[in-house]
Every structure is written in C-alpha cells, then in structure tokens.
Symmetry: C2
Subunit: 242 residues, 2 copies
DNA sequence: CATGCTAATATGTCCGGACAAATTCTCAAG
DNA sequence: CTTGAGAATTTGTCCGGACATATTAGCATG
C-alpha cells in the first residue's frame, strides 16, 4: 500500500526507538545524517521527525539535536477506591440526556472490562448526548442496559431523572450500589466531532456500574466529558464518630 | 518582540476567525491567496495553517480547501457536587509522596481560583511526586500549606499518612471538610517530563481543599495523574432510609 | 434533470537551497 | 583548572519550485 515517504520513515524510526535503538535519553542521528542514510530530503526527514514528536517519542531543540524521550506510552493503571454519597439523581435532573436508538451488543474484551460485564453477555447500547439546562453539550454518554429491560425505551423522556430510576420503577428491581470510576482520556476524532471540539482534547471519562443487591450488573454508563466543560466536585465530610 | 512569520500569520488568522471572518463553516482563502495577500511563501502559509489546525480551528483537505471548524474553544465549565466518604487516608498510606523544599508564593489570579484561596494570601508550596508501592510515579502534587504550619516540614516522612493529618496532630487544628474537584487537563511539557511522558497527554487533575470547621482553608493540594496511571473508583451506596 | 467525463482547483508531498538562532565544542589565555 | 571567545554543529525558518492526489466545477450527452 502506498504511503508517503515521510510517514514510512517515521514508522521505521518509531520501530527502531521501540526496539531501543537508540534508547531513551540518547540522541537520534542529525537531520542531515538521516537524510543521507535514508536517501531522502531534509524536508522529508523533518516531516518524519515531526510525526515522532507528535507521538511524544522525541524532543527536538535547535543546536542541541533530537533526543529520545520515550520508547512507547506506559500501560499500567493504579486504582484507589473512594466511597461517596450520591448526588447523581440531582445531576440527572439538572441535565438532559438525549438518547439514540438501541443497538444490541455483546460485551467482550475491552468493553467487558470497561463496563464490568461478564464476557459474552448481551446488552442494549444507547448512544447519547448530555446537555446542561442551557442546551450546551457537556458530554457523550453510552448507556448499556440489560435486554431484560428493553421496554424501558417507552419510558425515556417521561420526566427528568436517571435511567436507573426508571428501571427500578418499571421493573421492580433495586439498584443497591453504583460503582463509579473516573479517569482522564483523550477524545477520539469521532467523539470530539460530536461535541464540536478538536480531536485529541483531554476529557474526563466517568464509568458508572449500577448493581443490584447481590452485585448483579443491571446497567452501565460510560460518560465522556471534555476537559473544560465538566469537572467533578465532591465534599468529603469528617465522620463524627472519629 | 521577534516572532517567526508563520506564527505571526497564524495569530492574525486566528484573531480573524475569532472575529467571525470567516465564520465557522466557511472556507479560508486558498494557500496561494494567503501567500499573495500576506506577502509570504506558501510554505509559511502552510506552517501557519498547521498551527491553526493543531488548535482545532480549521480542517484541511486536499482538493477541498481549508474549512473553519471552530471560532475558539468553549470556556464554560459545568459543576456538579457529589459528596463522598473518604478513603483518602488509606490512599495516602498506600502511596508515597516525595516532596521538595518549600517555596513561598502569594495566591493570585488563576492560582487563587484553583486552590480556593483569598487573593493575596501567602502560602508555602511544596512540589512533589507521588509513587505507588512499587515506586512507579502515579502523579505530580503541589501542596499549598498555610505558613503558620511551616514547621510541618520536620514531620514529613515520619510515617506514611496524609500531610493534613500531620498538621492536625502537630498544631492542634482539625480538618472538618475536604472539597475535592476532579477534571481532565492536558499535561504541560514540564509536567509530562517529570513523569517520563510525552507532553499533551490527558491527565486527571484532582484539587483538594482542606477546610477547618468554619471554612478556613488550611491546606490545598493540586494533583495531576496521567490518564493511564490513575483512575478514581468510587462506590455509591444506597441510603437505607430511602 | 441526471450522469459521466474532463479540466481546474486546492492541498499534500518532495526537493534543494539559504540563512537564522540556539547549543555545543574547541582552544587559547589566565 | 577555569573561563571566555569563536567556530562548528544542529535545528528552525523561509523561500521557490515541481509534481501527486483529492475534490470541485463545468460541460456535454442522454
């Protein structure tokens, strides 16, 4: 498959850096050397190096050279549990969630891990946009609902509130615990486009898992909130027993 | 002050786009037209347009032209309060915070807003790196401590725990409430370098304000956690009174 | 009016070159 | 051994040019 020379060069250099040639901390050959070695123009080399810089693999400084700053992004995640008292309902009432039609999906791999589902379990996925009272989009939502509650669609929009409340009322089940995970992600191009933002923007991802009394997952929601449109505020009160 | 031509052009074009000339959805003049109008080379124009593309203001496609996609990034923040029960102490014990020397600062402007301080109030700022038990950096911390507690440095490292606990014990004050704000930011180059990561990476920013019983701010902490090294997990339990 | 083809247009890629600016290295002097 | 000046090195900026590729406009035909 055809590919521009500068991209091909970028890919070769990226692979070499990943292989430790040169290692993090060392310098790459100069632009002139790379041009001679790979028989391309200095412009092409500079374009290739710009790609690597965008990936965060190298750092360039005039007079100093091109330094390798990373072989590849790190992949280990640290987790810490913090309990809280919900204001979720108030949040749900204060904002408006516009949901699209249901799409049946089966949870596997990353999706299963993300929403805490058993592998192979079926879900109904609803993509939506959440807006504040003024109609300004504040985030994207993907709602995963147990197919057992497929009729819940009829209740959407009946009144402001949380979907899990509707499920509780319509099906006589109870959400006993909500597990919430907050982390930072980078908006993918399609996600960014839906929010009218440039891709690559930092966003809060808030995953909520709605569990019945014995830990059965009834519903899950994956929310993406762009950095400047949403922040979480929590008050942590001292327990009086202390 | 000297500035490269391509940056000056980018700034002019950015200001025009912000002023609606041309409006979002319209196209910019072609590269050739811009080169002629501004008496620069097409290369300089392309560099300037690349800057605007990086800002997410324009979208470029060969054969089609340069389209304006945004006038400027949105700047309104939505805030929602959610209360919680702390695991903060456990978190503090499970990780290790390496703090540097104190640096006196006066809170103004953005800093005052960020940490919730009165403008003009003096603080001691300690920059630090937090690591997990294995020594892997999981975030950067900036600790702001009331100068009244300057002797607290002597207590650093005495035993694992939270700095506010040390302040409580050493000075006979009590933290009554911790206000925590979580949002997504993009790591600045220096911050990223300290964590061995490329700049531009998404990160969780968690600001905690430690308040005495009548709302007096005793301490504040600004924590930056890179996206893949940290996530917040919370359990929200149903209140039994419901 | 719809369709298809071709030309025109606009950005993308690549080249060579020159000079500016920041950093590093070398060497002489103290 | 230290210091400072100057040269060398390396990236950054800017130019002009040519060709490739994708998109759009225009026009002829049915």
């Amino acid at each position: 498959m055809h590919r521009p020379r500068y991209r091909a060069l970028a890919e070769r250099l990226r692979a070499e850096i990943a292989a430790g040639r040169p290692p993090v901390g060392a310098t790459l050959p100069t632009e002139g050397e790379l041009a001679a070695t790979h028989r391309v123009s200095r412009h092409t080399v500079r374009e290739a190096l710009r790609c690597l810089a965008e990936l965060g693999l190298i750092s360039r400084r005039q007079g100093s050279g091109t330094h390798v700053t990373a072989a590849r992004p790190q992949a280990s995640t640290y987790r810490q549990s913090l309990a809280s008292l919900a204001d979720l309902l108030q949040y749900a009432k204060a904002t408006r969630l516009h949901l699209g039609p249901a799409e049946p999906v089966v949870a596997r791999g990353r999706l299963a891990r993300l929403i805490g589902s058993a592998v192979g379990r079926a879900w109904l996925r609803y993509a939506g946009l959440r807006c504040d009272a003024a109609g300004t989009p504040i985030g994207l939502t993907e709602l995963y609902v147990d197919p057992e509650f497929r009729d819940i669609e009829r209740h959407f929009g009946e009144r402001p509130g949380a979907v899990y409340e509707l499920i509780e009322e319509a099906f006589g089940v109870a959400v006993d615990e909500i597990r919430q995970e907050i982390d930072a992600v980078t908006l993918a191009p399609r996600q960014a486009a839906k929010l009218g933002l440039p891709a690559g923007r930092a966003a809060l991802r808030i995953v909520r898992r709605y569990l019945a009394p014995h830990g059965r997952l009834l519903q899950a929601a994956v929310n993406l909130h762009p950095a400047e449109r949403f922040s979480y505020v929590m008050r942590i009160r001292r327990e009086t027993s202390r």
